[in-house]
């Protein structure tokens, strides 16, 4: 085995490893009680997303993918958490025992089931003739998409719900860097700013809810207020 092919296999394995940790941090988001822990797992997830983009960009060398990785590295693990911390008061993050519709062990089992079904969902898509990176990234991306939707459904607090939404976005991104690596860099920038604006708007909304009714437990907001 020549030196370059060996380096390529190691890069492929490292990308697969980043994918595995990406999936694991999504599981972490499903399993943590504390809002702060959920945010930390989201940061980890975004870091693995960025590192996967950089690893895919190293061989064959593509500055475009490395650029995507750098944009993601700056946007998601740094700016979004900063923005969330600035808009929503500190008291929300220290809150423990987020009320969930289902308890944590059952959530984890459902998450496992979702992951396995994501692999089955992705299997016919992969038969179209995808490259090696897509083989790894597409099922994990689909799984994270489903898990993000699950977090969105099960959590009752506003911030974890928002993080579930962002996890869905991360999942879609994780699949897209493998199946459509040649998207224009402008599109990526637009997506990054879009996410940022969405986070900002939801953050301000959450702050308003928190100021008005003293809680961010949006699961309890079942009826409109009567005047």
């Amino acid at each position: 085995m020549t030196y370059s092919t060996q380096a390529a296999t190691i890069l492929t394995q490292l990308n697969a490893l980043a994918g595995a940790f990406f999936l694991l941090s999504t599981f972490g988001m499903v399993a943590t009680r504390q809002v702060q822990g959920c945010l930390r797992f989201f940061i980890l997830q975004s870091l693995f997303l960025a590192s996967s983009a950089v690893l895919l960009g190293l061989h064959p060398l593509s500055w475009h993918l490395i650029g995507v990785g750098i944009i993601n590295f700056i946007n998601k693990p740094i700016i979004i958490p900063w923005l969330l911390r600035r808009t929503i008061s500190e008291e929300v993050y220290k809150r423990r025992e987020i009320t969930q519709a289902l308890n944590i062990p059952i959530s984890l089992l459902i998450a496992l089931g979702l992951t396995i079904s994501a692999y089955y969902l992705a299997a016919p898509l992969l038969q179209v003739g995808a490259g090696l990176p897509a083989l790894i990234n597409l099922p994990i991306g689909v799984a994270t998409l489903l898990l993000g939707a699950y977090i969105l459904t099960v959590r009752r607090e506003a911030v974890p719900q928002l993080l579930g939404l962002l996890a869905m976005e991360n999942g879609a991104f994780f699949a897209s860097i493998a199946i459509a690596p040649e998207l224009h860099l402008f599109v990526e920038l637009v997506v990054a700013f879009d996410v940022l604006i969405a986070v900002f708007v939801i953050g301000v909304l959450t702050r308003a809810i928190h100021e008005n009714i003293g809680t961010t437990n949006v699961g309890a907001l079942a009826a409109l207020k009567e005047e």
């Binding site: 085995m1 060996q6 296999t9 190691i10 492929t12 394995q13 490292l14 697969a16 490893l17 994918g19 595995a20 999936l23 694991l24 599981f27 399993a31 944590i104 062990p105 984890l108 998450a111 496992l112 992951t115 396995i116 692999y119 083989l135 790894i136 099922p139």
Partner: protein
């Protein structure tokens, strides 16, 4: 042939001799990190020596199980040390007797008898600790099984000497997601089985909170010494399985030569020391979990092991 028998016996002696040193090093390092002075790293040897010279009291109400358990707890890690690669990366004389599954069964036998003996005397704390150990044990069992199946599925064998070569041959296999996730799941398993901090506090002296320690409360004299030594050897053997079979066979003797074996001993101890550093970091940065949160800790380990299996079955 003769050399293989001698090497096998050397392997057992290494496990017997250095297991208390491992326990002493862990507790000393923990005390240093917590800015205390702490006992010498040779303290476990002194404890065992002292206990062997004390009189042993055995309750008249207890049965033969109570009397035989220290011997079984002491002997089972030695049997496992005969089977697994501690110092060499080739099978030694007795290695044909069992694979990894056999090793797991033998270790479980010791745990089984320790549980029975704890219930035997009628001491109120013993059965409580025993039932808690079983709780941890049966939560850890599925993780162990999935890890074991994944590893033997990946390597195509249940023999540890074949499995360990799989991870480094070629070197890119080391970075396989399956490998890293299996390592992570087994690490959490060691924390649970060894009674380490997120699950159990090994240095706690409060009987109501004990999980692992309270099983040996009734023993005195040489029985207590054997239980203590056996427990330390079990932990050492678990770490050897983790480092040599599941991580990588680095630093082990490759050929049958006394020189390589002599070099392998300090190299393996250095590996164990690196593991101890990570263990101390984990133990000093986490708090003990409440009893009913243990299921979440081991549930996380289970999820990681299943993710390892998924990463192998579906991705390649």
């Amino acid at each position: 042939m003769f050399a293989r028998i001698v090497f096998n016996i050397v392997q057992v002696f290494v496990v017997m001799l250095f297991a208390p040193l491992l326990a002493g090093t862990v507790s000393r390092l923990k005390e240093i990190v917590q800015s205390k002075h702490g006992p010498s790293i040779f303290q476990p040897y002194r404890d065992i020596w002292k206990l062997f010279h004390k009189r042993e009291y055995i309750s008249e109400q207890s049965s033969w199980i109570f009397r035989f358990t220290p011997i079984i707890v002491f002997v089972t890690p030695i049997f496992v040390a005969l089977l697994i690669p501690v110092l060499t990366s080739y099978p030694l004389f007795f290695a044909f007797m069992g694979d990894m599954l056999g090793g797991g069964f033998i270790l479980a036998l010791g745990g089984f008898f320790a549980t029975l003996a704890a219930v035997d005397t009628g001491n109120p704390y013993g059965p409580m600790g025993a039932s808690r150990t079983r709780l941890v044990g049966f939560l850890a069992e599925p993780v162990f099984m999935i890890v074991f199946f994944t590893v033997s599925f990946v390597a195509g064998s249940t023999i540890p000497y074949i499995v360990q070569q799989r991870w480094v041959n070629p070197i890119s296999n080391f970075f396989e997601p399956t490998h890293i996730l299996v390592m992570l799941a087994f690490y959490m398993l060691i924390l649970a089985e060894g009674g380490r901090i997120p699950v159990d506090n090994p240095s706690g002296h409060f009987e109501l909170a004990m999980i692992d320690e309270s099983k040996g409360l009734e023993y005195s004299g040489s029985g207590a010494a054997l239980m203590k030594w056996g427990g330390e050897m079990k932990f050492f053997v678990l770490i050897c399985i983790f480092l040599n079979v599941l991580v990588a066979p680095w630093g082990l003797a490759r050929t049958i030569s006394v020189k390589e074996l002599a070099i392998a001993i300090p190299l393996v101890l250095a590996k164990v020391f690196l593991f101890v550093l990570t263990l101390v970091a984990v133990e000093c940065s986490l708090a003990k979990l409440r009893l009913f949160r243990i299921s979440e800790f081991l549930g996380a380990a289970f999820v990681i092991s299943v993710a390892a299996m998924i990463a192998w079955v579906f991705a390649v």
